[in-house]
Symmetry: C2
Subunit: 542 residues, 2 copies
C-alpha cells in the first residue's frame, strides 16, 4: 500500500517563512493521515512566479536556508519539494527543481526539462533545462518525477526537442508525479486531465498532478490537484481553495463530477484572484465606481464575494449626462449587495474644467476631449478616496473595451487591479446571468439596457463599436487564435473591412493597455504579461 | 580587393514596404560605391524587435514576399539580409536568419545560434536556435556569418552551452560579419568594440559589425557600425543617424576618435529615441508640463532638439503652492528654447475638488491625497490639450523618482512617452550641465535650486528622500548590479537601514511603474520591458 499526500497550498512569492510554515503543516497533516510521501507544487518554497526576483542571490540563499529548516521535520517520510537550485554547469545559473528529501536528509534533485517561454511564461529567462530523468523508490514502488511543462510535450506541436516522458518509459515505473504551477484558464482543467490520462496510458501507471492554488498578480492558480489512470480520475482536490489529496494506491477515490459551467469557473477564478490580491497586498477594503452599468455591477458583486460586502464602498459619480435609471440602478445594486454607496456628483468640478478650457478651446468642436474629462474626474475622485482611506480602487473595464481602446486613460482605467479585463462583454453578461440564476443580485434593468458610457447625450456603445457578439468573436480569433483578418472574416462570414477596422483599433490602442492596471487572467490569452506587442509598429495599422 | 558595404538603416517594425525601400536604396548606393557585398542589420526586413507580431503568420509571409521583391535588384551583387524564416524541424516555428542572396537568387540562410533571453530580450519566446556555421565565398575570400548575440558568448559568463565563434575557428576565414540589432546603453559601444577585437584576435581576421539605428518603443539603436582588427578600428559609421560604412580590405579607414562623454551620448540617444517615437507614431507636436524644475526643463530641451522648438508647447500650471521663481524659470526656459508657453493656473479646479471633498474628508488630516490632487489636475489638463489638439504629452519623471515611487499615478506620470525615466537625478544634472556648457539654455537658477515638487508649502525632495548622490548609487547597485542591501551598505559605507528602506520603496512602488508610460532605455537596466518584477511578493518588503 502506498499513500501519497499532494499538498495544494496558497503560497506568497518570496515569503519564505510563510511558505515554509504551510509546508510544515502539510507534513504534519500527511503524517496524521498515514502518508509517508508528500508532494508539493512547483517552486512551492518561493511561490510561483518569482520572475526577476530570481536575479537576486538572496532568493537562492533563502531557499537553501528554508530547506535546512524543513529537513528535521521529515523524519520517517519523503518530501518532494519544489524549489530552485544552483546550476553548477553551463547555462542559466538556476534550475527549477524538485528537492528529494527523505528521513531528514536532502538526497537528490530532479531538474525541470521543459521550460515554457511563451504567453505568460518566461522560464528560459532564468533557468537551465534539466537533462536527467529521476525515478525514486518508495515503499517498494518506482516513482518517476516531473515538473509542470515536462508533461506537456505532446500538446505543444513540436515546440520542444525532447520529451522527458518518453525517456521514462523504459523504467517501467509504478507512478508518475508532477509538481505543477499551472495557471487557471477556461477549459484548462479538462486539458490537464486528458493530457495526464494519455500519459498514464503510455506509461501504464497512474499519474499524480499536484498544483498550486491562489492568485499572484495577474495569474490565478486553480488547484484541482488530481490522480488519474488512463481512463478515470482516481481522486481530485477542490478548486480555488487550499486543499490536499490523499492517493491510496489500493483504495482510489470515486471520480468527482466535472460539471462546472464556464460562468461558474470564471466567477470562482475571479473571486480567488481578487481576494488574494487584496490579502497579499495588505488591502482590506475596496472602492468601486458604480456607473449603473453591467461592468461595474459585476465587479462590485465579485469583490463583495471576495472580501465581504462590509469592505466594499461603491461610489456613484453622476454627471449632467447620467440617466436617472443609471443612478437608481447603482442604488438597487448596492442594496442587493449590502455595500455602502457614496454619491459624489461631478458637476461642480466638471464645470470648473469647462470654464478653464473655454478660452483655449474656443471655436473648436466638442469631441472625445470633453468625454474624457468626465471619466478622468471620476478616476481622480476614486484615487483621492483611495489615498485618503487606503482602500484599493478596483477598475471595471472589460476585454472588449480594452481591445478597442474604448476606455479613458487615467479615467475609467484608474485602479490598482482590473477585475474583469479578461472577460469579453459577452462573458460579462454570461457571468452576470449565472450570478442572478439563483437570486437577482444584479438588477435585471442593468442586464437588459443597452450598454452606454453616458459621456454625452443619448450615447450608446453601438454608436462606436460593432455589435458585441460580432466584436468579441473577432477579438478572440485575433488575440487568442492569431488568425489573420481575412481568415476571421471568412470564418465568421463578416465583411473584411469590419474585421480590419477592429484589428487596427486593437493595435492603435496598445499604448492604453500598457498603462492600464494589471488584470486577472482567466482565458487562454489575456492582455497581461502574455501579450507583448510593440507600440511602435506598422502591422495591420493601415 | 574586397569592398563590403554595411547598411545602417532606421527601420519601422512591420512596415515591409518602407524597410524594403531602404534596403533597395542601400543596394543602389553600394553599387555606386563599387561594393559587391552588402550587409544589413539583424531582422532588417521586419525591424527589430517585432515581439509578439511574430506569432502572426502574415509576418513570415510578408517577409518571404519582400525577399522575392528584392531578388531582382541583386544582379551582380551579394546581399546578406536580416529576416525570419520558417523552422522546418522541432522547436519554435521560426529562425532569426540571414538570407544569403547572390546575383538575383536566394541561395542559403544562416540561422542565429545564441538567442538572448534576458533583460529586454526574449528571443527564446519566438526562435529556435541555429546549429550550423556558415562560411560564404566572395571575391575569393572566405567570409563567416554571425547574428548579434552569436559573438557575445565570451562576455556572458557561461550563459550559453555553445560558442559559434569557436566553431568558425577551423575554417580559417578572411572576415567575420555580424548582423546586429544592439540597443544603445551607456558604455555599450566600447564593450562591442573590445568584444570584436578579441574575436578578431582569435580568428586572425577583421570583424565587421553592422548595427540597426533608430528608436523603437523603449529601445534606441545607436548604429556605430564598424570594422576592426584585433587592435584598431578600421572604420566606423556615425552614431544615432542613418549611415553606411564601406570597408575596403586594402584601404582601411583611419580609426575615428571615440571621445564621447557620457552626457553627450545620453543626449544623442534620447534625442533620437524621442524623434523616432514622434515620427513613427505620426505625432508632430509635443506637450510638456513645465514646472520650473530641472526634469521638465531637460525634457523640453531634448524634445525641442528632437522635433524642433516650433513643435513644442510648454504648459505652466501654477498652483497656490508654486513659487514665483518657478513660474519665472519656466518662462525663461521657454524663451531660451523659443517654444510656446501656455499658462493654465489650476487654482479654480483645485478649489472645486477641495470643495467636494470638504464633507467626506472632514476631520481627517491633510496628507499625500491633497498633493496628488494637484498633480492629477495637471495631468488632466495636459491630456485635455492632447485630446483636443492631437499633440503627444511627454512625461518628465526621472529614474530616481520612478524607483522610489516619488511620483503621482495619473498625475506627473501622465503621458505617451517618458523621456528621462532612465536617467537618475544625478544624470539629469550631468546632461543639463553638458547642454549648458556651450550656451546657457536651461536657466542656471533651475540647476542651482533645491529640487521640490511644490505640492505643499516649502516642500523639498530631501524632506522625503535621501540625498540624490546616495540614493542614485543605491538604485544603480540594486536595479542594475543586483547587489543585496547588505552589500550595497558595505560598498558605499551607508547605514543598512537607509539602504533597506530604499529597496523596500523600490518594491512597494512597482504598481506605479506598471502603469507609467514607456520610457527610453539608455542604461544597462531600465524600468522597461527588461525589468520584470512581480507586484505581489514579500521579498525585501519588511
Amino acid at each position: 500500500m502506498t499513500r501519497i499526500f499532494l499538498t495544494q497550498n496558497n503560497y506568497i512569492v518570496g515569503k519564505f517563512d510563510h511558505n515554509t510554515q504551510k509546508i510544515l503543516e502539510s507534513i504534519d497533516l500527511a503524517r496524521q493521515k498515514e502518508c509517508s510521501l508528500i508532494v508539493t507544487s512547483e517552486l512551492a518554497l518561493l511561490g510561483y512566479p518569482p520572475k526577476d526576483l530570481l536575479y537576486y542571490p538572496s532568493i537562492l540563499a533563502e531557499c537553501e536556508k528554508a530547506i535546512e529548516n524543513i529537513l528535521p521535520h521529515t523524519k520517517g517520510v519523503t518530501l518532494l519539494l519544489g524549489c530552485v537550485r544552483k546550476n553548477p554547469g553551463q547555462g542559466q545559473p538556476l534550475f527549477n527543481s524538485c528537492a528529494i528529501i527523505t528521513d531528514g536528509k536532502l538526497v537528490d534533485y530532479y531538474d525541470k526539462w521543459l521550460l515554457p517561454t511563451y504567453d505568460v511564461f518566461d522560464e528560459r529567462r532564468y533557468f537551465a533545462p534539466g537533462k536527467k530523468t529521476k525515478v525514486i523508490e518508495h515503499d517498494g514502488k518506482k516513482i518517476a518525477l516531473s515538473i509542470c511543462e515536462d508533461i506537456w510535450y505532446d500538446q505543444l506541436d513540436n515546440l520542444y526537442e525532447n520529451d522527458p516522458i518518453s525517456e521514462i518509459y523504459s523504467s517501467h515505473v509504478d507512478f508518475l508525479i508532477n509538481l505543477s504551477a499551472s495557471p487557471f484558464e477556461l477549459h484548462k482543467l479538462k486539458q490537464r486531465i486528458s493530457l495526464c490520462q494519455n500519459i498514464s496510458h503510455k506509461l501504464s501507471c497512474p499519474v499524480l498532478f499536484c498544483n498550486q492554488v491562489g492568485g499572484n498578480d495577474s495569474l490565478i492558480f486553480d488547484g484541482y490537484s488530481f490522480a488519474t489512470d488512463s481512463d478515470h480520475l482516481l481522486g481530485m482536490s477542490r478548486g480555488f481553495i487550499e486543499d490536499s489529496l490523499i492517493f491510496d494506491s489500493e483504495k482510489p477515490l470515486a471520480a468527482p463530477s466535472l460539471n462546472y459551467s464556464d460562468p461558474e469557473q470564471l466567477y470562482n477564478g475571479l473571486v480567488l484572484g481578487l481576494r488574494d490580491y487584496f490579502h497579499k497586498q495588505n488591502f482590506s477594503k475596496a472602492l468601486i465606481g458604480l456607473s449603473g452599468g453591467i461592468d461595474s455591477a459585476l465587479v462590485a458583486t465579485l469583490v463583495s464575494k471576495a472580501i465581504g460586502p462590509q469592505n466594499v464602498v461603491g461610489i456613484s459619480m453622476p454627471s449632467r449626462y447620467s440617466s436617472e435609471h443609471s443612478i437608481q440602478d447603482a442604488k438597487s445594486l448596492s442594496r442587493n449587495l449590502s455595500i455602502e454607496l457614496l454619491e459624489m456628483p461631478i458637476e461642480k468640478v466638471h464645470q470648473s474644467y469647462l470654464d478653464i478650457f473655454e478660452a483655449p478651446f474656443k471655436d473648436l468642436p466638442e469631441d472625445v476631449t470633453e468625454e474624457n474629462i468626465q471619466s478622468r474626474i471620476r478616476g481622480m475622485i476614486l484615487m483621492a478616496f483611495s489615498n485618503k482611506w487606503g482602500h484599493l480602487v478596483v477598475s471595471c473595464g472589460n476585454k472588449s473595451e480594452m481591445a478597442m481602446g474604448y476606455a479613458t486613460l487615467y479615467g475609467d482605467l484608474t485602479g490598482g487591479l482590473a477585475a474583469i479585463s479578461d472577460l469579453t462583454k459577452t462573458q460579462v453578461y454570461a457571468v452576470s446571468k449565472w450570478i442572478n440564476a439563483k437570486k437577482e443580485i444584479i438588477p435585471a434593468s442593468i442586464i437588459e439596457k443597452a450598454p452606454s458610457a453616458e459621456l454625452k447625450p443619448n450615447q450608446k456603445d453601438s454608436d462606436t463599436l460593432p455589435d458585441y457578439a460580432i466584436l468579441d468573436q473577432i477579438i478572440v480569433d485575433y488575440i487568442q487564435e492569431h488568425l489573420e483578418p481575412e481568415e476571421i472574416a471568412q470564418k465568421n462570414k463578416l465583411q473584411i473591412e469590419l474585421v480590419k477596422e477592429a484589428v487596427r483599433k486593437i493595435h492603435l490602442s496598445e499604448y492604453k493597455r500598457r498603462q492600464a492596471p494589471i488584470g486577472l487572467k482567466v482565458t487562454q490569452k489575456a492582455f497581461s504579461s502574455g501579450w507583448q506587442l510593440p507600440i511602435v509598429h506598422a502591422h495591420h495599422k493601415d
